[in-house]
């Protein structure tokens, strides 16, 4: 198969620094080698290729902009954006996995969590040993999440 050469009509490449270019090229190769060969099979079967998770973790694709002390890659936001771009060149579903893990699980734990939450969960999530999800949308509240019905009560905490 011919490797993807990129689409860059305005030489945007020249606006990227060395680290950003390296990240882009690494993820581009990952997409060629590991996503494209298997994606149609998974798309037909309706399955997520879980075997990609450790490889994605090794390349720093989870919580990419968060601090190294949690096992994260501490990239800048342009490099993180390039990760998303190159993953989605393979498949939006694989990019969605990384988006949720990074932006909707690790980011809130890092931003709103206690030190104990961060110390416990972030290294596990960065290494792909734990997977996270983000539950905001409800059947009757999509675009208008302020109306959510899900509620917590204090006794311990009960969610229903």
């Amino acid at each position: 198969m011919v490797k993807f050469q990129g689409v860059d009509y305005f030489d945007i490449q020249s606006l990227l620094n060395e680290e950003e270019t390296l990240v882009r090229d690494t993820v581009r190769e990952f997409t060629d080698d590991h996503i494209i060969p298997i994606i149609e099979k998974h798309n037909r079967a309706g399955t997520f290729p879980v075997e990609l998770v450790p490889k994605m973790a090794d390349l720093g694709m989870f919580g990419s902009t968060l601090p190294a002390k949690y096992g994260c890659a501490e990239m800048n936001n342009v490099a993180y954006g390039l990760v998303m771009q190159e993953l989605e060149r393979g498949d939006s579903g694989i990019r969605s996995f990384a988006s949720v893990q990074s932006a909707l699980v690790m980011y809130p734990i890092y931003t709103f969590g206690s030190d104990a939450h961060k110390d416990f969960w972030l290294p596990k999530l960065a290494s792909g040993k734990a997977i996270g999800c983000f539950g905001l949308t409800e059947p009757d509240y999509g675009s208008n999440p302020a109306g959510m019905i899900t509620r917590a009560e204090e006794k311990g905490i009960v969610i229903s």
């Binding site: 393979g90 990019r95 909707l104 999800c133």
Partner: protein
Amino acid sequence: MWITNGTLADVAVVWAKLNGVIHGFLVEKGRKGFTAPEMTGKHSLRASVTSELIFQDCEIPKENMLPKTDGLKAPLMCLNQARYGIAWGAVGSAMACYDAALGYAKSRIQFGKPIASFQLIQEKLVHMLTEITKGQLLTLRLGRMKDKGELRFQQVSMAKRNNVHHALEIARTAREILGANGILDEYPVMRHMANLESVKTYEGTHEMHTLIVGEDITGIPAYV
């Protein structure tokens, strides 16, 4: 409902009202009263797990509340992070579709010539490449502003709205260029097209982003 990775997840960041105020809670897999069955029947994002999270008197320790969450702003900040990535991701889908369409147009012969030699096909390819280039410039600028801490969420909305809209249009145009072959999974185009239908809706629909930018430029909220 509609929760990506729900069934796979070891931990769920769940948003719920406590005394009327929205807070975030960490709910681990296996807690009594919490299940996450997978949703089926999707025509889009088929290689991604989408689930329903069901809570029935699920008890968690008090420490599982994310202490710095207080109201809708916290989950919206998360969505803003995700949308930023989606604005970039959509460009990736569009690049894959353009690349497939360009290669195909140069090799497919009709009327004795490659279809790339017809003006109507060239117009389609030029339009695709122009929109990709604009999307790339938008995301790069977005990233540089975010790195400087200057980025406003309304700008993220504009970029998500624009890039996903054009990626979907590019996927559809690529499908046209591939003719009947465009509907086969031998080519990536139809998969990207179907995926982008979800991407256009999740993390704030195209319409909601229109309203966000609309409010920003007019000062008038038009949500209700």
